[in-house]
Amino acid sequence: MKLVKTLVARLSPQKRKREIKRAHLRAIIGQSDLFDAAWYLEQYPDVAAAGQDPLDHFIAAGAAEGRHPGPAFDARWYCQKHADVARSGMNPLLHYLENGMHEGRSIRAVGAAAALDAVNKGQPVKSAPDRDDTRATVPPYATDYESVWCAAPVNWRRMVSEADQTRRTVEGLSEGHPVMSWRAASDGDQAAPHFVRAEVFRNAYGEAYGEGLSKLGTLQETRLGLALLADAWFADAATLILRFPPAGVRSSFVRAYQAADDGSLQICGEAAVRTGLPACLALRVYRPFAPVLVTCEGEGGVLRDSAVIVFPSLLRGGLHHAEWRAAQMADGHADLEAYMLELLGTVVADGPLLTDRIEVDLAGAVGSERLFQPALVDDLAAVFGVAVTAGAGTPGRPISQCTGKLTGRARAKGWSLRRSGGQCVSVPADSFPTLALLVAPREGHGVSTGRFCLAASLSGEPQSLVTMATLPAALTGLDHPALPISLPRPAIMSALGDQKRARPATIRFRDPRIWQVDPLFPLSPDVAHGLVLGDTLPDIQIIVRHDGDHHSLATCLLALTRQTYASAIEIVVIGGANDSLLRDIVGERAQLIGSLAELGWDDGDPAAAVRPGLVLVLSERVCLHDPRSLGALAAAAGGTGVASVSCVVMIRGDGHRMEAEGLAGYAPYAPEAFGGVTSEEAAQLLSLFPASAIPVGDNGPDLVLYSRETLERLWTSSGKPASFGAWGALGNRVEGMHVCLTLVRATALAPLSDGAALASVQPGEGLSDSPLTIRSFGR
């Protein structure tokens, strides 16, 4: 060792540094137990053939080439799983040893995916590619390239503009002023749409600010003239770029105007041109919700053309762009102008408007969401007359400091001079109201509070359009205490009309870090689920159907013994259970009874058949691994108008760690509740909403909790409970809400039943004569 140190000391500084680093790496990696020299040589014969030291090879080249250091560390998987490591170019094993393991990052053995599949499924299956569970896998929209983008690679002209991009106030609007003093080319031209349009805009702002805005309603007749623009987008939050078509009108000046906070008109961009139009014009647009007028003036102040961008925030890069994309997808709107005109039509029409106040649900808020930004909140009040106030939730001390800055009262400005409908809409903190909600009339407003656009938190890029049926108030309290997950809801419920045609109410900005939940325990295991269980918990009778898979049955029962938040439980195993096996599982607490008749199943008397409280019908293939499951299901079943409750069942897992991705397999049997999406997409939606209750058309028979009332109705409609939970049975025969709870999850121990072949609990047919009752189990 001394010799080595001496030799190192004689090297040049660079070499010495390199040698020291190499020695450092050798020490860390070589002693780590994750590097296996023999395995490395066996796995990579080229290294052995070259006679290289395996550790040196791995440090110098192997890691960069994506080779694994040993059987217990899959280097490629580690880089794939942790993208920041891959980006840093760091040796993945070194990263894990120095940082990753302390940060709780996961590792995986080489070939673990295949091994895991073999264990879980009993057959070799290709491992699924790793993906972020919380991200949609199918892009919901066509890309810009396919839909919007029109390439214009030639004939681009340099933008001719001497003016800087700082806005300046238009000093007076008197006749003859060079600014806003355009004239028509001829008398007949005064009736031309572009002239009327510009005049309407000027007059709207020429009078008291706000009152005039309603005059913009005239633009419905003249149209907005957006054909003047080839494209428009926000380059940053305050820079709106207008691109003009190559063959534009003949013009000397191109100008854009917008009202400032104080109501004065300002020029937000201008360009002087010799012929045609500039290729691009950059505007400073500090108010995304206030209309912008663009004018093209020729020699002598003759107005050649004009356009009014009524709602700039709908443009690409704008706050409401996701809403426009959703409208394109759902309603088939062909062009932006039509959509803007439709919104304009609703805001200037007679009659009260829907939204007077936006109440922010504070659950999970961090205070930096868009609804807390003073500039945006001020503009909401100024342009739409909508106040933003702090609502319910779980405000901590710091967040209350933030909410004090919200405006409690709408300002009498802008569109707000229209009639307020007095409606308060409660929205999650991570959302922003859509224009459709802000300008919707109260009657027949066509806005669905259960519908919203999902957009990326930082970029604002739209991700998907989501439709959720509106929940009753009793169930909206089942939100995750730490996540901003609740649905937007109006304080006064009114008929929502056809959900498919309804507009989204909010844009939800999704930050994967906040929305990320693991599939096995959506609610952290050390957190109570927040459900109010009441003083007296209902007795729960659990009917477990046994198909002969003793291992699954043992696990299923073991999980039931560990349930908390539930009072007396009675478990009935039916379907040919092996008594001695069950005795092994549950010991002496089991009580054998003679037949189902002793439980009152065959006498046709519902009061005798159904014990007071709740009945959970459970397949032995389903494991309630989360000890809070039964309590959560029971509490949800106690909600007003709830007929049956289930929870998401994981049907497969992947990866080395249990929090790795998985599919929420208990898809609700009501695709229409999701706007016609397929069940696979519905399952992905479930994974996006980890802590909510989703109304479904029916609950399947593998896991469903019935209220006593539901059972009685089932009983009387068919003479006996011949098909608890069979496909379509509930939806057809029992009124009330069927709920799929995503607050807790269960896991399928074996493949579940599917489709029409679903077997249901059918007392009296094919059952054992000696069902086992396990009374007051584990209480």
Partner: protein
């Protein structure tokens, strides 16, 4: 007094936390008679002598550190942990393992160090009894004269050119919380006001560029002013703050952010940069020098003196002395330590415990070598697979063989005598460091182990359900075999770690 600080690894010696908190205070501690050493915990494995009076574990969150803490307290030393980031107030599942570690610290430390009173509140929710000291981040000394000159130059340059140079510096992101550039983007609308007022505002972002993904870059593009991104380094940060008129430091309201120390504002101000900090008023103690709203800054810039100017620089120094003076902080720390009861758990050498780490499904590989270095036993549970060699393990699922315990040669020597008689050498000299085997006992714990099957060990719900009983059974069997032993479970996997908190006794 000798104070030994252990950090997580060699890389952590250079992190902002270690650099600002401990390196800046070392000279002052030395003047007060306290020798302070800062080393990565791995140096213990390499033979670092444990001879200090007080030990402080900085961001060492694993079973090895916990066991070392127990061992050092038994030897009479004072042991503390520092808690400078609030990963424990949030209730989301992402921070479960941090909360579990916090719970496991209860009763294991003589003291805790926090950076702010907010952090103390967060800790108190988990541990009401352990004494907590607030250690303010010390500032780096600077020259008042050059600060005054810098301030004058910056203002003159800004007013003459109408150009506002703004800097944001820090980590781009946190894997658990939306902070960093997310805050910058969220509060970015404020920066638009500067441009609106006729200033040519430009933002320089100094951050770890490797962490910038497409989403983050798209967020930066949404800011209402030109942005230049540079790779962070201490030198770059210093240069940027020396030239920029303004440091923009927005703070959101989540527990992680509001419990942060004042060091970013302190650093910016000591370089002569004005601080604009919208959002949560984290920098309230520096209120006279910090702007919360851009309009106030613009008013001062146009018509008055800026808050930090040649006349107020002296009071800045006084303000720092009140909250971040290295000498004051060093004295305060030593006074706190001197007030603690010395070595309450001290035991004579002969009465000291035999110690063992029981490895779960995922464990810190280096813990194995730490065990060897400090003479602890390293036990494998049926879930363990990565850390080798162990002193003892249970073989459960080998074809054609009865379940048994396999042992290393050293472990056989430490077996209870009744067990040692049962030890049979393995054929062919053993494998993976194991040389002997003994049959599983016919006890309730042994029966639990004998009934373990592959599905219970594979990732998934079954493992979660059976984890606690299998671990407890393993512990019971090994304790029986090795005699009285203090055991800590080493488990990094969050949901299993939850189960590991309160092990049930097997059988």
């Amino acid at each position: 007094m000798k104070l030994q600080i252990f950090v997580r690894s060699a890389t952590w010696l250079e992190t902002a936390g270690t650099r600002i908190r401990y390196h800046r205070m070392r000279a002052e501690l030395a003047q007060l008679g306290c020798v302070c050493s800062i080393d990565p915990i791995s140096r213990v494995r390499e033979g670092l002598k444990l001879g200090a009076d007080v030990y402080l574990f900085s961001k060492c969150h694993d079973a090895g550190a916990l066991m070392m803490a127990d061992m050092l307290r038994e030897a009479g030393a004072l042991v503390g942990f520092d808690l400078f980031d609030d990963y424990i107030s949030n209730e989301c599942s992402l921070t479960l393992s941090q909360r579990e570690f916090q719970r496991s610290l209860r009763g294991r430390a003589d003291f805790l160090l926090c950076s702010t009173p907010q952090m103390v509140d967060a800790v108190r929710a988990y541990d009401r009894d352990t004494p907590v000291h607030v250690l303010n981040d010390p500032f780096a000394p600077f020259s008042l004269g050059s600060l005054v000159q810098t301030l004058q130059d910056k203002v003159q340059r800004a007013r003459s050119t109408r150009c506002l140079e703004i800097v944001w510096f820090g980590q781009a992101a946190n894997p658990l919380f939306p902070v960093g550039i997310s805050d910058l983007v969220s509060f970015g609308q404020d920066l638009g006001r500067l441009g609106r007022a006729g200033w040519d505002a430009r933002l320089r972002v100094l951050t770890n560029g490797g962490a910038l993904d497409v989403e983050t870059l798209a967020g930066l593009r949404r800011l209402p002013l030109p942005v230049e991104i540079q790779e962070w380094s201490l030198q770059q940060e210093s240069t940027a703050l020396d030239t920029a008129l303004l440091a923009y430091i927005p703070v959101n309201y989540q527990p992680f952010s509001v419990a942060k120390s004042l060091n970013r504002a302190v650093t910016a101000l000591s370089h002569g940069a004005q601080v604009l900090s919208p959002g949560f008023s984290l920098y309230a103690p520096l209120d006279p020098f910090v702007y919360a709203h851009p309009d106030d800054l613009l008013q001062d810039l146009e018509f008055r003196e800026l808050r930090l100017n040649h006349a107020t620089a002296d009071s800045l120094l006084q303000a720092f002395a009140g909250i971040a003076d290295p000498a004051v902080e060093a004295l305060s720390l030593l006074t706190f330590l001197n007030g603690l009861p010395l070595g309450p758990l001290r035991r004579p050498v002969r009465q000291r415990c035999q110690r063992a780490i029981l490895h779960g499904a995922e464990t810190v590989p280096a813990t194995g070598s730490l065990c060897r270095a400090l003479g602890w036993l390293s036990w494998a549970s049926p879930f363990s697979g990565l850390v080798k060699p162990f002193d003892a393990a249970v073989t459960l699922l080998e074809d054609g063989a009865e379940p048994a315990i396999i042992l290393s040669r050293d472990a056989v020597a430490r077996l209870a005598s009744s067990w040692r008689r049962l030890a049979v050498p393995l054929s062919a000299g053993g494998v993976s460091g194991f040389t002997h085997r003994v049959p599983l006992p016919d006890s309730p714990a042994g029966q639990i182990l004998a009934n373990v099957n592959a599905a219970m060990l594979s990732p998934g719900p079954l493992r979660a359900m059976h984890y606690r009983s299998i671990m407890a059974a393993t512990e019971a069997v090994f304790k029986d075999a090795f005699g009285d032993t203090t055991v800590i479970w080493s488990e990094l996997e969050p949901y299993l770690a939850t189960a590991a908190v309160a092990p049930e006794s097997a059988g």
